[in-house]
């Protein structure tokens, strides 16, 4: 659990239940009535719900006697994971920054890439295997400037999260999503 989430839980136990959750924002709400903690809301993934329930139950005996999660639900999703895959490419000043971005995406996006690599001038030959032909020139231009490129192939729906994190949360100079393709195993 990161420091922001831990601080949020501390605030909740202190009675400040109006603060939005640092990850799920206003999608969830919490009520503390005497020593009964009630979590409500809609989460995107089953794993998120399980983690939140685990965190809540870990607080039993620390100012909470009972936890009610009957109104904490997972949004019904029609998307089928694994139907299509997509490669996301982002360029960074150097390999170290790209590595930080990679760790950040894996940790916060909670995605499991089908393939991933950081490419710079030292391993430029891997480009042909990971990047579709149409985009190789774009990537080569960035490598020629001394930049490092993070390449991640992920499930099509997870690609929204990956590109969003790379665009908004990391120091990427440029990013690109290769159009969705059939899974690489097919």
């Amino acid at each position: 659990m990161d420091a922001r989430t831990a601080a949020w839980w501390n605030a909740v136990l202190a009675g400040e239940t109006d603060e939005p959750h640092p990850i799920h924002g206003r999608h969830i709400s919490v009520r503390l009535h005497r020593d009964r903690l009630e979590l409500r809301g809609v989460l995107e993934r089953r794993e998120d719900r399980a983690e939140l329930v685990r965190q809540a139950r870990a607080r039993i005996g620390k100012g909470v006697r009972e936890v009610d999660v009957s109104h904490l639900v997972v949004a019904p999703r029609l998307e089928r994971p694994g139907l299509l895959e997509q490669t996301i490419i982002a360029s960074f000043t150097d390999r170290a920054t790209a590595e930080l971005a990679r760790k950040f995406v894996l940790e916060h996006g909670r995605v499991v890439p089908v393939q991933e690599a950081i490419i710079d001038r030292t391993n430029g030959e891997r480009l042909r295997r990971l990047v579709p032909r149409e985009h190789i020139d774009d990537v080569r231009r960035r490598l020629a400037r001394g930049e490092a490129v993070l390449v991640m192939r992920v499930d099509e729906i997870a690609a929204f999260t990956v590109r969003g994190l790379l665009e908004e949360e990391t120091r990427s100079h440029w990013s690109l999503a290769v159009p969705p393709e059939a899974p690489s195993g097919v």
Partner: protein
């Protein structure tokens, strides 16, 4: 063949487009409410209703054909906005920046932001004028509290969730359909003007044409649609559902617009009355609502404003944040995306300032739509170039019919813009 078996077969064939194609049952269709339907609701903002009222009152049914022609164009342009986001996994502003660079993306976004802020100011003014109609409180005293409430709601509450409920308020405009029938228009004139183009070379006609196209095929909706898809995360595997969502939203939007023109045309144009105030515009509802026309009109305008003003502010914020690479999204809390929400706050402040300055509300609404009409073709062309690129879109590249309708939309809007510029240059602006 079951859905899973069909997709397995498609997977063996291997094209992403085939794999993504989804069969929709009647129950699926009934459940479709997404960013497309909300965009359709936001398309008929107070500025839109005022524009259609002015068009109906000044030109009668003469421009019905243009609205009819604009419907497939609007659907195609909005579907392209949705598709491009689902394929590239990013919003329109970011895509313009990463594809064409800041030199192209910045003016495109900033022009949209300027038009949005003017429209927001005009919409606020229209909402205040509508409240004045029923309460008698002078509209100038209503603008600041209304802007403050809407700004707070947009910044601190989950607007996307709320807008699904607010859509019901816009349902009030369905009364225009009844009002149009009760006004007993000459239906043969209505039908003829819908299917037979009637082009007149006058400044009034061209202004009305550009404003109508601008309020129908509106730049801020392109940005809103693409950002909505990013927040919904439906992906290309739900593209058919997305297209249907967009189609339903846009048909409903233009159907309402059509009946606003018919109602105002029948009630106001035939009596040579002009739309200069909210009370004038409300008169079109009199055949249906009688003495309650003003109240009904006010509820509709307030509902339309409550949906559209936050959409306008958020579209500007999505555009600017996409240009700058800031965190963005109405699903995020304000402290998590401060720059994004700052743009929303500043938009509200400037719009409020515009609204309380002594501007003629109906003129402000109308000319903001003219500005939209001038910007839209530029954005449509950029979007067409992106969605026609196999490199960027892969198997989801535009088909020939989409390209044909998309280029026709850009062409019709450019022609209307050129005709307007020529008319204004030779005859000047009307009083």
């Amino acid at each position: 063949m079951s859905e899973i078996a069909r997709r397995k077969t498609a997977t063996m064939r291997g094209t992403a487009h085939d794999i993504a194609r989804e069969h929709l049952s009647a129950a699926d269709v009934a459940r479709i409410v997404g960013p497309g339907v909300i965009s359709g609701g936001a398309d008929n903002d107070p500025a839109g209703i005022a524009t259609y009222s002015v068009v109906g009152a000044t030109a009668g049914y003469a421009q019905n054909w243009l609205l009819f022609l604009a419907t497939p164009m609007l659907i195609v342009v909005q579907q392209m906005s949705a598709k491009v986001a689902n394929v590239t996994k990013t919003d329109l502003a970011t895509l313009l920046r990463t594809t064409y660079g800041a030199r192209v993306a910045t003016p495109a976004v900033l022009l949209m932001v300027v038009a949005n802020v003017i429209t927001m100011g005009a919409d606020l003014l229209a909402m205040a004028a509508a409240v004045q109609l029923v309460t008698g409180v002078r509209h100038i005293y209503l603008i600041v509290p209304m802007a403050a409430v809407m700004g707070t709601v947009t910044i601190f509450l989950d607007y996307r969730r709320m807008s699904r409920y607010l859509l019901w308020l816009v349902g009030v405009f369905a009364t225009y359909i009844l009002a149009a029938f009760l006004a007993r228009p000459n239906w043969s004139d209505v039908v003829r003007s819908t299917f037979v183009p009637d082009v007149r070379f006058s400044v009034d006609y061209m202004l009305a044409a550009v404003a109508m196209l601008g309020t129908t095929i509106t730049p801020y909706l392109f940005f809103w649609q693409s950002s909505g898809e990013i927040e919904e995360k439906r992906g290309v595997q739900r593209l058919r559902r997305t297209n249907l969502d967009v189609g339903i939203g846009m048909v409903w939007s233009n159907l309402t617009a059509f009946f606003v023109i018919v109602a105002t045309g029948a009630v106001l144009y035939t009596h040579h009355a002009h739309v200069r105030t909210a009370a004038d515009a409300a008169r079109a509802l009199e055949p249906f609502a009688g003495q309650y026309a003003s109240a009904l009109f006010a509820v509709g305008i307030i509902g339309a404003g409550l949906i559209a003003i936050p959409v306008l502010a958020a579209s500007s914020a999505y555009g600017v944040a996409g240009l700058a690479g800031w965190r963005r999204g109405l699903g995020r809390p304000a402290r998590n995306a401060p720059h994004f929400y700052l743009v929303i706050g500043i938009s509200f402040l400037i719009a409020m300032q515009l609204a309380i300055s002594s501007v003629d509300p109906i003129k402000a609404l109308f000319y903001s739509q003219v500005l939209d009409g001038l910007i839209a073709p530029f954005l449509i062309v950029l979007m067409l170039l992106i969605t026609s690129s196999r490199k960027l879109m892969g198997d989801f590249v535009n088909g020939p019919i989409t390209n044909l309708i998309g280029w026709a939309a850009a062409g019709v809007m450019v022609l209307a813009d050129l005709a307007l510029v020529y008319q204004v240059a030779t005859n000047g602006l009307p009083a």
